[in-house]
Symmetry: D2
Subunit: 331 residues, 4 copies
């Protein structure tokens, strides 16, 4: 079986430079939105980017459009910066109603940007919505604000799609939208059909989920509207290059998408603090193409039979046969 190569995408922040609490002077010179777009175009295999908004260095929407066109890229989504200083105690759940209103204003504005760019969705990543200390929040109240806030936003824009990217923690010690199951629950509470989920492979992994299982659950609820991949050591959101640690589980993740007929963009979410951003994207896509070829090689009938028996030995051998050349000799 040979299937067409998937379309690849990346968060535009893959091409930024970074800062953290230690290297406060930044791991590199700041990179503007327009320059990030140019770098994304250099990768060569990218079709889509997800853009942070507001754009940096005063870039206008027109400049961004032109830069995307020049780079041969389309916008898949727009991610509003609802986790900067102003929102340090939360966007949707900030204890100060004025800050919540400011977040809402930025979010409404982002809807316009999505429409202008012809992107598919507003991506909500409420990184500061959560808590740090036991006893810091009333859990009922804060979750209600989290759900009601997105409900209010999405209700105001019924023609626009919104995806929530859940994550267990960071920058808050605990984030509210922390898992696939909780995200589904919250979306069901809203009772809207224009809110879905973007699954980040690494978030699922270090949150103790099986990314494949989380994807299946979301698909079964009709809510897997986007995804991105990367890797980590299962203890933190390291945002490493794809496949550098968890080859088998990345393979299972894409296997799950394939058997469900999920056909979306394979996006990257990496933070190459110390590496070249274009080269890390290329290396990951090189690996993802290998995964794609391995998916074409896999014996699906035998795999379905093994899984029907819960036969981990047979399933793993099939995986290794598809994935490893070194298996050639004695298989």
């Amino acid at each position: 079986m040979t299937t067409p190569t998937p379309l690849f995408g990346a968060g535009l922040w893959n091409f930024a430079s970074y800062v953290d609490r230690y290297a406060t002077d930044g791991y590199d010179e700041p990179v503007s939105t327009l320059e990030q777009i140019r770098l994304a175009g250099e990768v060569g295999d990218l079709s889509y980017v997800d853009l942070n908004y507001p754009f940096s260095h005063g870039a206008t929407l027109e400049e961004v459009k032109a830069a995307l066109a020049a780079a041969g890229l389309k916008a898949i989504g727009v991610t509003p910066d609802i986790y900067l200083r102003r929102f340090k105690k939360g966007a949707f759940t900030n204890p100060d109603p004025a800050v919540r209103a400011a977040a809402m204003e930025l979010l409404h504005e982002t809807v316009g940007v999505v429409n202008e760019l012809g992107a598919r969705y507003v991506k909500l990543w409420p990184g500061q919505d959560g808590w740090d200390y036991p006893f810091q929040v009333n859990h009922h109240d804060v979750w209600k604000l989290a759900v009601d806030g997105i409900k209010e936003l999405a209700s105001a824009h019924p023609e626009t799609k919104f995806v929530i990217e859940y994550k267990p923690r960071e920058p808050r010690v605990k984030m509210l939208w922390d898992s696939a199951a909780r995200s589904i629950l919250g979306i069901k509470e809203m009772g809207l059909d224009n809110v879905g989920v973007l699954l980040d492979f690494g978030h699922a992994l270090y949150g103790g989920e099986s990314p494949a299982d989380a994807a299946q659950l979301l698909i079964d609820h009709g809510l897997l509207w986007g995804m991105d991949v990367n890797d980590n050591l299962r203890g933190w959101d390291d945002d490493l290059m794809v496949g550098t640690v968890h080859m088998t589980e990345v393979f299972e993740f894409f296997y799950t998408l394939r058997i469900n007929g999920w056909e979306g963009v394979w996006q990257l979410d990496q933070f190459p603090f110390r590496e070249d951003s274009v080269e890390t994207a290329r290396a990951s896509i090189r690996f993802l193409k290998a995964i794609h070829r391995a998916l074409d090689k896999l014996d699906y009938v035998a795999m379905a039979e093994a899984q029907a028996r819960h036969d981990g030995i047979a399933a793993q051998k099939l995986v290794q046969d598809a994935l490893l050349s070194s298996m050639g000799g004695d298989a």
Copy 2:
């Protein structure tokens, strides 16, 4: 504010002896069901026990009833052994339909025992329902079996209550009912009103949940029908004595129950591999009484105000004032 001391309970297995994969000769001589009941009675502060079924050493239902009466105990629930050898690849989700049927048979039988004992619920702890290896199961199929199985069971006994005790893992590398949110989702899929959740404090803790937050979510969905407490190092279900590691988070858990007016039995779920079972239960209840007194001391108005501001500093000071005598001098 002084409130009546809560009623205490314990899983009867708190008074068993244990075996693991290393000490295969067991940490102590086996303890029969009847002897476990006698030991539970010795604790002095226990009102309720949750009993494993089938009873060990051939004890009859009449003998168990008599033993409970003699010990001054009532049954709060009954936990069928759907995790023994026969069910090693799962009970509700076993790949073999005959094994699933055997599990169902035992579960139906357990309903009768619950009724005979006047207990409140059948407790479902599907410890072997899950997987060990990536690719071992089809995630859609296995979750469907998990939900449908409990639905079938609970539908057959509409007058009986069933509680699911979720847990992230062990004995399977990954368990299906692994979190509060996922449990709620599964129960909603069933569409029944006689299935709820028993929250184990330690399971929430090492699964990356805040136990207080998980309790609140369950309460908000009307599904917190039981709970038990213990402690661990956040990496495994150590089932240590309550309060030996996480004083503050246990306090937050009971605080959350109180402000919601949750009035149920405070149960223990401990595995004292190397300690005296009666003494560990007594030590934990001693600590829980302290927690209860601290709840009476807490300044609820100030706490609500602090939480409305998400003020972790003020909230923690209130906690310490209520919890620590050593604070007396300078508070």
Copy 3:
């Protein structure tokens, strides 16, 4: 470069059946020592086994020797059962001097068995030496007992080699010999040259070490005297089949052994609770042969250059080129 296939070994317990605190009736019928040897022989690629002592079901040393010969196996080591009921509060560090003496007696006896079997070492796995609760032990005293105990033992048998298999935890909540660095420290305190380390890949992994780095540290101290491999999800000692989760890190581990010229037996330490023990061993060896072939394919010069630059991108591409057939098309 083609190198001879390594010799494979396995802990004999790979072929036992298991029990845990839930499936108290055991995951299968008990398997005797002699039967375990027969099963190990069936694998077909095993040259060595590590035997628990005392042997089960009353097998004599002569019977064991005969069974090994019949199965075409040699003993690489003997592991005394210093973690059964009697030693539940520790062997070397038990608070009761009589229990410590009993452990020492069993250990002396094991030296004789090692000599009789022509094995290479006594393997010390002090699984019950540690603690469960904060404040339970005096950390100075308990570590001193741990070091002094092994020193006393090894001093009494200067011609015999002893290897310590460190592990972070389980069955104790915290074990004393918990890491490569701590093991080296303790051995240095002994000042003996007949005590070394057996590195378990999975123990290193879930203890937060890089197994490759731990191996290098031990090699640099001349103390890597044995090793075994398996896999897990980095949170517990799952003892899964090799390569089912961490292909790349297993590869790095064996790469590190090769560039150091380490030539020992590639041993397995798996607990196939629910799988066929012979088949899991075969599946793992099948994968290890693939790793061995990938080691032959790897570009060592380019890897050394990449590592000299700390170039993670180049290093990972070299790894993937050696490991993945699916890379063939575009590499």
Copy 4:
């Protein structure tokens, strides 16, 4: 037993503002070194600070001295910024010799600052010395650079003390100086008597150590030359206020210091991203004073007896009696 209140200290960065990879505009306006000193003075109970070097905003050594005097503070140590952009791939272990030389130059300069300020030590926190990817480094070479670099530095300044603050990870996915045992090993390899360790309670905790045990090990090797405290959820270096999560283990840590007669400064290492820095310091010191009073209340004879028996029940009751007022009624 009543003992004098300990002297308190804090890293000066406790009074800075912070940035991370999300809130790239910083959690607050930048705070200069001189302003940080003023804020530290406001706490009221601090005697010592540990200062980052170079000082920010162009402050001179004379200005810093004056500010310290005005605030009633002394310098306990100086921490050179060997983790900024230039050192993003490591200071002592950077693959580029020119960068290693630049780090060494800054370190030599820091020795002068320590002397000028009359501080006790140069604190080495080699946060960028490590790796991110499997296969990225040669583990032998990189550890050798790590040890040799500090050896070269400390050899050049035999009258100056250096302390290494170990940490498992962050900002690197894996750091080289990652545990107490490994730090001791590395220092022994140096063979110098002017290199010791500063133990950070939180680093030990989330690295899987028992902080009390790590402290004891360092004391037994004569290497516990400094310490600081904070708290976290055992999965990351959250740098929360002391005692907000792990009351019992903080208490065990200070108990261990006391029974060893360790008399140093009780330092704080907190990152109050979203809280007032002076108030978080005050709240932590308030708790630490409670710990100190609890240490005075503790029954040391009974504790020693309990620990001699490895009696976790008795030990925990003694802890709770000393720590909890709520225990008063029934103890």
